[in-house]
Each structure stands twice: as structure tokens, then as C-alpha cells.
């Protein structure tokens, strides 16, 4: 299909798109997470008759009010950019999801209505009708989550499309199969808990700095309290992530294997590894702080559960290909790391280290690491999908020949051998001509002459 495409100045179109998207998503996710947590905190304050929770909830909603307009304005920019820069994608995608988009707009209106007119503005006037006020807060949160739900479904369809993308002149408008695509629940829960985790860690980090700057003792006490509270929630929520992430990866492996391989050792793996590094950093500092800070059994029990679950995930995870020594070395490594972590916790437990200024700054840096880890997740997924807008349905306009060849190689070779793309680097000797000729004769291999030539050319150039 021939479609008009806009050329962008200065930077390629994907840079423009990422720029707009990454300015909107952090704002939108932060608002969604804050609006989910605010009525919960308010309810806790109401039950415990503790004003600190109410103050925290209100300050979070106030922050959402500040961010709402710029976030929404940036949000309108996203479809505008897509329509111009990827017109075929937008036409076909909007053809498939017209009604979810319209319903999402209605959710948005309801969200604004509840947030502005029922929740934030009458906060003081409803102080004697707290239950009704909390109910309005819950309604705001529900519509916020519903908006996220719709976008997660539409976003996950791009990675795991369950029905073909309709043609430009084929307005389907609604497809249950497309909406409830295999990746949808995993992406939704991954983002839901991810949002809460990163926003709370970041909020805790910011409160830690505010705590340092307070001179008034009562204010200092308040900021000390909210730092602990939010940071703890952020840290505990993160332990849901390995399980959801594991399930998401499994779904990708089954439904979009090339995306899976791209992340697990392929061209997108560097982003993923960097993200994991940030998470490890986050776990180390946040875990150390909380272990030393909270001596009650509940928190220690939760942390123990989290560490055990992390250990299990590492146990199920195949050995890292860049680690020499295979499975044994891999298991020894993560066991040593976890033991070292215990030692670290033990050291932290002594001498009240957590109360030092340096640790408050460490909390702030941990919050930033959480934010960047979150942002890198979306970036990794979109990089892994290259060269497709919608996996195996629609190729990007700006696709480069080597990206198409790489996808082809992953699909034809890696998928069959169940190996990581990194294995190709280690393979010796590099006699790709012979190797491909041998492999394509194996039963089940479906590679014709032309395709073989394409694969060999790519292997010779890049491996």
C-alpha cells in the first residue's frame, strides 16, 4: 500500500517518536500509580486516625493535578506524530481498535471529572464525609487503571498480535481476539506493579532529600515517616516483577519468538542487561536500607520471601552465555552474590548506617535507578520488535536491509536450534557457507536457495 509519509528534520522519525512518548509515559504512569495509592493511603489514615497518611495522599493528588495538563497535552501529541510519521500503521491499527480508543476517551473524561470535581477540589469540604471522599478517590483510580488497561492491550498487540492487522480500507473497529491478545495480561500486570514500584521508590528518594533539608522537627518527623513508608511499598512491590516478567517472557517466547531472542542474547539484550543492572543496584541499596530500618517480622518475612523468589528465578534462568563455566559457574555465581547480599544486610544492621546523609542520597539514586529501569523496559521492547511496527504484520517504513535480514536469521535459525543469538558469535569455525548448507538439509528446515544466500551474507558480515 502506498501511503504518504512525512520526513522529519534533524533526527530520524523514530527519535522524534521516542522523544514524545518518553516525555508522556513517565508522567502518565506516575499519575496512574499515585491515583491508585492515594485513596488507599487516605483510607489507612482514616482508619488509624493518623493525619500523616491524609497529608501524604493529598500531596500526591496535588502533584497529579500539576502534572495532569502537561501529561495530557503530550498524550495528544502521540497520535498526531504517529498519524503523520507512520500513517499506514495508524490507519490499520486504529481500524482494528476504533472502539477501544473511543471508550478510552470516555474513561479519560470520567477520570478528569472524578479527579477534579469529586476528589481534589472538595478535599477540605468533605472532611466530614471521608468515606464518600475515598469512594470518589477509588473511582478516579478505577478509571485511571481502565485507561491503562486499554493502552496496554493495544500496546501488547504490537508484540503479540493474535489476529491479522486489517487492511487500510478494512475498518474492523473492534476485535475481542485482538484486544485480549496473549501478551495483554502480562503487560498490564508488569506495568501496574512496575508503576507502583518505581513511583514509590522515586517518591521515597525525593522525600529522603526533603527530610535532610527540614529544620522544623515536626516536619522532619513527617518526612522521615513518609520516606520509610513509600520506599518500603516500592521495594516490596518490586518482588512481584520477576514472576510477571518471567510469564511475559514465556508468552513472548511462544508467540513472538524473535522478540524473545532479540532480548535474550540478541540485538536488544544490551538494553535488557543494563536494565537488570539497574534493578540489581536498586535491590542492593533499597534492601539494605529497609532491612536495617524495619525490624518487624512482617517486613523481614516479606524480604525473605522476595529473596527466595529471586533465588528461584535465577535458578530457573539458563546460564548467562558470557559467563565461562556453564551452569555450575552460573549457579555458584548467583549463590555467592546472594550470600554477599546477606553479609551486606548484616553489616547494615549494625550501627544505624541507614540514618546517615549518604544513605538518604543513596535512596534518591535508588529511586532514579528505578525510574530508568522502568523507562528502559519499554525501550527494550520496542527495539526488540524491529523491524516491525506490529510483529510479523507490518514492517516499519524506515526499515534497514540488515534489520530485515537479522529478523530472518533469528526466525529461521535461532528459533529451530533453541539457542541464543550469542551462540553464533562463539561458533567456530566461521565457515558459514558450509554450515548453512548442512543445516538447511536437516528435516524440518525450510530454507530455499535465495534465503540461504541471504542468511550466509548476513552471517559473514555480522558474525
Amino acid at each position: 500500500m502506498d501511503l504518504p509519509v512525512i520526513e522529519t528534520p534533524v533526527a530520524p522519525r523514530w527519535v522524534w517518536m521516542e522523544e514524545v512518548t518518553y516525555s508522556h509515559i513517565p508522567i502518565a504512569t506516575l499519575i496512574t500509580a499515585f491515583l491508585v495509592l492515594a485513596p488507599i493511603f487516605e483510607y489507612i489514615g482514616y482508619r488509624l486516625k493518623d493525619d500523616r497518611y491524609d497529608r501524604l495522599a493529598r500531596s500526591m493528588v496535588f502533584f497529579c493535578m500539576i502534572l495532569y495538563s502537561p501529561g495530557a497535552a503530550l498524550g495528544t501529541g502521540i497520535p498526531m506524530f504517529i498519524i503523520g510519521l507512520w500513517p499506514e500503521f495508524w490507519s490499520r491499527w486504529a481500524n482494528l481498535f476504533f472502539w477501544p480508543l473511543v471508550i478510552q476517551f470516555i474513561f479519560f473524561l470520567l477520570d478528569v471529572f472524578f479527579l477534579f470535581f469529586c476528589y481534589y477540589l472538595p478535599w477540605d469540604r468533605m472532611k466530614d464525609r471521608k468515606r464518600l471522599h475515598i469512594f470518589f478517590g477509588v473511582m478516579t483510580a478505577v478509571f485511571g487503571i481502565l485507561i491503562q488497561l486499554v493502552w496496554d492491550s493495544l500496546g501488547s498487540y504490537m508484540s503479540t498480535p493474535s489476529v491479522p492487522l486489517p487492511a487500510v480500507n478494512e475498518p474492523v473497529a473492534w476485535s475481542a481476539a485482538a484486544f485480549f491478545n496473549p501478551g495483554f495480561p502480562f503487560l498490564f500486570f508488569h506495568r501496574f506493579f512496575g508503576n507502583i514500584s518505581y513511583t514509590m521508590l522515586l517518591t521515597g528518594g525525593v522525600f529522603a532529600i526533603k527530610y535532610l533539608r527540614q529544620k522544623n522537627p515536626s516536619e522532619k518527623a513527617y518526612y522521615g515517616f513518609v520516606t520509610d513508608f513509600t520506599f518500603t511499598i516500592g521495594f516490596i512491590t518490586i518482588f512481584f516483577m520477576p514472576f510477571i516478567g518471567w510469564g511475559f517472557a514465556k508468552i513472548l517466547q511462544q508467540n513472538s519468538p524473535v522478540i524473545f531472542h532479540s532480548i535474550m542474547g540478541g540485538h536488544a539484550s544490551r538494553y535488557f542487561i543494563f536494565k537488570m543492572g539497574l534493578i540489581a543496584f536498586m535491590l542492593l541499596f533499597a534492601g539494605g536500607y529497609l532491612f536495617a530500618r524495619h525490624r518487624n517480622r512482617f517486613i523481614i518475612g516479606l524480604m525473605t520471601g522476595g529473596i527466595i523468589s529471586t533465588y528461584l528465578v535465577l535458578h530457573w534462568h539458563p546460564a548467562l552465555d558470557w559467563l565461562p563455566g556453564g551452569v555450575t559457574a552460573w549457579r555458584a555465581t548467583y549463590t555467592v552474590i546472594i550470600i554477599a547480599f546477606f553479609v551486606f544486610l548484616w553489616v547494615m544492621n549494625r550501627g544505624g548506617l541507614y540514618d546517615r546523609t549518604l544513605w538518604r542520597w543513596a535512596m534518591f539514586v535508588t529511586g532514579l535507578a528505578a525510574f530508568f529501569a522502568f523507562a528502559l523496559g519499554g525501550f527494550t521492547r520496542s527495539r526488540a520488535r524491529q523491524p516491525y511496527n506490529v510483529y510479523e504484520q507490518l514492517v516499519k517504513v524506515e526499515v534497514l536491509p540488515h534489520e530485515e535480514d537479522r529478523f530472518f536469521l533469528y526466525k529461521k535459525c535461532i528459533r529451530c536450534h533453541h539457542k541464543s543469538p550469542k551462540d553464533l558469535e562463539r561458533y567456530e569455525p566461521k565457515d558459514w557457507q558450509n554450515r548453512v548448507e548442512i543445516e538447511r538439509k536437516r528435516p524440518g528446515a525450510d530454507i530455499d536457495e535465495k534465503e540461504a544466500e541471504r542468511i550466509i551474507k548476513y552471517l559473514e558480515e555480522y558474525y
Binding site: P4, I83, S91, F98, F108, E170
Partner: protein, 488 residues
């Protein structure tokens, strides 16, 4: 199925309702921003806190309305791309960069507005900076709808026939000739003044509502003064509208004749449901005028801070009377009498409301705000309804007009054979179009049709004596056609 159907409402009304709602909300936001700045400046100069407090209160309402408008804009984008894909695609081919600049301004506005309201108290010691921030909103808003008006004006008066003239630019996503179309400037002027009037009337209306609930004398005086300030600003902007509207109509007559005829003589969707919606809009305007004149006549006798002298009130009345006489000449005299009647009715009602509320403007503020809202909605509807309808909502991009010259910039894997052939617009010729175009310059066609005698040669000569410019050949064509009693 070629395109998506919208249940119950249908595609046209779905877009129409959301677009009108957006217009009402967005226009209000623009007007409120202007009022807030004026109120802040007045408060600062006069060192009266009450104006600053009122500005803050109105700005909070503005923030709420702005967010609703933003969300609504998202809905409009989704609905347009799904329900009118061909139109939307065409707009993107021609105006993509305009829309992106618009988005950038949108973000700047949102950030400035948020900062201005939520940091009101924090910036108390930097009042000039704070007022400057608030004042920034108005030019940003104007810039934003400058862009939207380029596109909206193009839809009514495309100028160089479907932007064919823009071939020479060769730039994708930016159609200079389409953007600076004939009605662009007049639409800008019209909307600038109308939005300021509408927003300020609504600010006064809000003061009116608060007055109904206020019990303490101090609070009442606060809203009374605030309402008066808003009402004055609104009325000043409102006064310019007949002049701008007159020239806007003039542009339409020559560049969108069908829309002009539909508006002036109630054809097509203008009279949907058996009601002439454009007349109804003018009835609201006339009533507003009458109420305002009665209000300011009463106020001119009072020693208040903001007053308009009586002589100015009567001058305005005469100015408007002249406008309605001119409209009566162009349209029908029934229009003139109707407007006069509603203006007088409005004046009587305005006087009654002031007496009933013992000198308080609350009733007037509220009523005029409602009428102002109705005017904006009806005006928006009339402009859209005047334009010929979409014949069909063709699927995405299939028949998007892309000039051949620009194809190599625009397309991916182009096959020119598949593109539809675009033909230039054919201008109407012959005596029928001569009569329709020339005679309506001074009077309605009804007057021609109702003329009882057959002395057309004398009549046409008379008209030429009055200033009608015709060549001998054109004059003969018109006379022959009128004598033959053929339709026109």
C-alpha cells in the same frame, strides 16, 4: 463495510457534537485566560486584593475546563481518524507540521497554566513575574488557534482549489497557500474577539452564580465588582463582532458562495429540523445586546469604578442599528425587524432583572453568560453546517489528493497509476451565475424575483448607476436572462 459506523448518532453528529463541545470548552478557556490577566493587573495597579482573589478563583475553573478540553481534543482526533479517514488523511498531508507546532504550543500552554495556578501563593513576592506568566497564556492561546484557524478556514475557503497552488513549495506536511486561505484572517479576528467576549461573559456569569449563594455583604460586593469588571471586558470585545462578522461574510460571498447563500438565506443543514440556526444565533446576539445596553444605561447613573457613559451606550445602539439595517438589506427585512424586536425584548428583560435584584447585576450576568454560550455553539454549528456535506466517507488514503510533483517526497513505493486524477475546480459562468454573484452584492435575490414589472433594461441601468460594475456584454446577458424568466 467501507467505513466505521457510529451507532444512534451517526458519524456526522458524533463528530459534530464532540467538535462543538470542544469549541465551547476551548473558547471559554481562551476567554478566561484573558480575563484572569486583566483582573490580576487591575488588582495589582489598584492594590486591591479582591481582584487577585477573583482571578485565582476563575483560574481554578479555567484549569478544570482546560483539562476537559484537552481530553476532548484526544477524543476528536480518534473519532476523526476513524469516522472521516479520508478527510483526516488529507489534512495531515497538507498540514502535518502545523498540527505538530500546535501540539508543542498545547504543551507550553498546559505547563504555563499549571505553573501559574498551582504556584500562585508561592510566587506572591514576585507578583509581576506571576502576572507575566498569566499574561503569556493569552498570546500562546492565540498562536494555538491561529494554527487551528488556518485549517478551519481552509475547510470553508480552500483558496487555490484543493491546494494545487502549493505544488510549487514541494514541502511535505505544510501547505502554505492552503493555510493562508482567504478567510483565515477574518476567522482569526472573529474568534479572538468572540472568545474574549464569551470567556469574560462567562466569568461574569460565574460571579452571578456566586452572588446568588453569597450571604455576607462583603462577599456580595466582591462578586458584584468582579462581575462588573468581567462584563465590561466582554462587552468591549462583543462590540467589534458585527464589523468583523460583516467582513467575514464578505469573504465568504466570493470564496465560498454556496456556504454564504446557505447562511444568508437558510439552506441545507442551516435549517436542519425546521429551525434556521443562524437566525437563532442572531436572535441570541440581539437579545444579549439589548440586555447589555439596558444594563450599562442603568450603571452609567451609578458611581462605580467601571462605568460606560450614557452617550457611549446610545452610540453603540446606533452602531448596531446600522449593522442590522445593512443585514436587512442583504438578507430580508424580516431579519431586521426580528432582531430589533429581540433587542428591545432583551433591553426590557435586562431592566427588569436589575430592578428585581435591587440594582445587582447577578441576573443579567447569568442570563448573558447563557446566551453567550448558546451563541458560540450556534455560531460553530452554523459555520460547519453552511459547508456542503461530505458525500461519502471514503476509506483511508484511497483518494487522498497528492500532487504528482510531490509524490516522490510523499510516498513509499509509489505507483502513480493507482492515484485518482484530480481535476481543477470549474468556475461557473453564464447569466445565472452573473445574477447570483452581482445582484446579491447589494440586495437579496428575493427582491429580484419579487420584482413585478418587466422593464429589466431600465432596472439594470439603474443598478449600474448605483455602482454595479458590468461590461456591456454582461449587462446584455443579465437583461436577456431576466426577460426570458429563466431560473437563476
Amino acid at each position: 463495510m467501507d467505513h466505521i459506523e457510529f451507532p444512534v448518532l451517526g458519524a456526522k453528529w458524533a463528530i459534530g457534537s464532540i467538535a462543538l463541545f470542544h469549541t465551547a470548552v476551548a473558547s471559554l478557556a481562551i476567554g478566561l485566560a484573558f480575563f484572569v490577566t486583566v483582573a490580576q493587573i487591575v488588582g495589582y495597579i489598584r492594590k486591591e486584593r479582591k481582584y487577585d482573589l477573583l482571578a485565582k478563583k476563575i483560574q481554578l475553573i479555567h484549569v478544570c475546563i482546560y483539562n476537559i478540553g484537552t481530553i476532548n481534543a484526544i477524543g476528536l482526533v480518534f473519532l476523526l481518524s476513524g469516522l472521516f479517514p479520508q478527510f483526516w488523511s488529507q489534512i495531515f498531508v497538507q498540514f502535518y507540521w502545523s498540527l505538530i507546532v500546535e501540539e508543542f504550543l498545547f504543551f507550553l500552554l498546559a505547563a504555563t497554566l499549571t505553573f501559574h495556578y498551582f504556584f500562585w501563593d508561592h510566587l506572591w513576592g514576585h507578583k509581576k513575574l506571576h502576572i507575566f506568566l498569566g499574561a503569556l497564556l493569552t498570546p500562546l492561546f492565540f498562536l494555538q488557534f491561529y494554527i487551528i484557524n488556518g485549517i478551519a478556514g481552509f475547510m470553508l475557503t480552500p483558496g487555490f482549489g484543493e491546494a494545487e497552488a502549493s505544488l510549487s513549495t514541494g514541502v511535505l506536511g505544510w501547505d502554505r497557500f492552503g493555510f493562508y486561505n482567504p478567510s483565515f484572517m477574518m476567522l482569526n479576528f472573529h474568534r479572538v474577539f468572540a472568545n474574549v467576549a464569551y470567556g469574560s461573559f462567562c466569568a461574569a456569569g460565574l460571579c452571578g452564580i456566586f452572588l446568588y449563594f453569597a450571604k455576607r455583604e462583603k462577599i456580595k460586593a466582591f462578586y458584584e465588582d468582579g462581575g462588573l469588571l468581567a462584563f465590561q471586558i466582554a462587552f468591549a470585545a462583543f462590540l467589534s463582532l458585527p464589523l468583523v462578522g460583516y467582513f467575514y461574510a464578505h469573504i465568504l460571498k466570493y470564496n465560498a458562495n454556496e456556504a454564504y447563500v446557505n447562511l444568508m438565506w437558510g439552506r441545507g443543514d442551516i435549517t436542519a429540523g425546521g429551525v434556521d440556526w443562524w437566525w437563532l444565533k442572531h436572535i441570541c446576539v440581539a437579545a444579549m445586546l439589548g440586555i447589555c445596553l439596558a444594563f450599562f444605561r442603568k450603571m452609567s447613573k451609578k458611581q462605580t469604578v467601571f462605568t460606560i457613559p450614557s452617550i457611549m451606550v446610545y452610540s453603540i445602539a446606533i452602531f448596531y442599528l446600522m449593522f442590522y439595517v445593512a443585514m436587512g438589506m442583504v438578507m430580508t427585512w424580516a431579519f431586521f425587524w426580528f432582531m430589533l424586536l429581540f433587542c428591545l425584548g432583551g433591553a426590557l428583560l435586562g431592566g427588569h432583572l436589575i430592578r428585581y435584584h435591587q440594582g445587582s447585576g447577578r441576573g443579567v450576568y447569568l442570563l448573558v453568560a447563557i446566551l453567550s454560550f448558546a451563541t458560540v455553539m450556534l455560531g460553530g454549528y452554523s459555520r460547519e453546517a453552511a459547508r456542503p456535506r461530505f458525500e461519502d466517507r471514503i476509506a483511508h488514503y484511497d483518494k487522498v489528493f497528492i500532487p504528482e510533483y510531490r509524490q516522490r517526497y510523499l510516498m513509499v513505493d509509489i505507483d502513480p497509476q493507482d492515484l485518482p486524477v484530480v481535476t481543477a475546480l470549474v468556475e461557473e459562468t453564464g447569466p445565472e451565475s452573473l445574477i447570483r454573484e452581482r445582484c446579491v452584492g447589494c440586495h437579496t435575490l428575493d427582491r429580484v424575483k419579487k420584482y413585478p414589472l418587466d422593464n429589466w433594461t431600465v432596472v439594470v441601468r439603474q443598478m449600474e448607476a448605483y455602482g454595479l460594475k458590468l461590461t456591456n456584454q454582461e449587462s446584455r446577458q443579465i437583461i436577456d436572462h431576466l426577460k426570458s424568466q429563466s431560473p437563476y
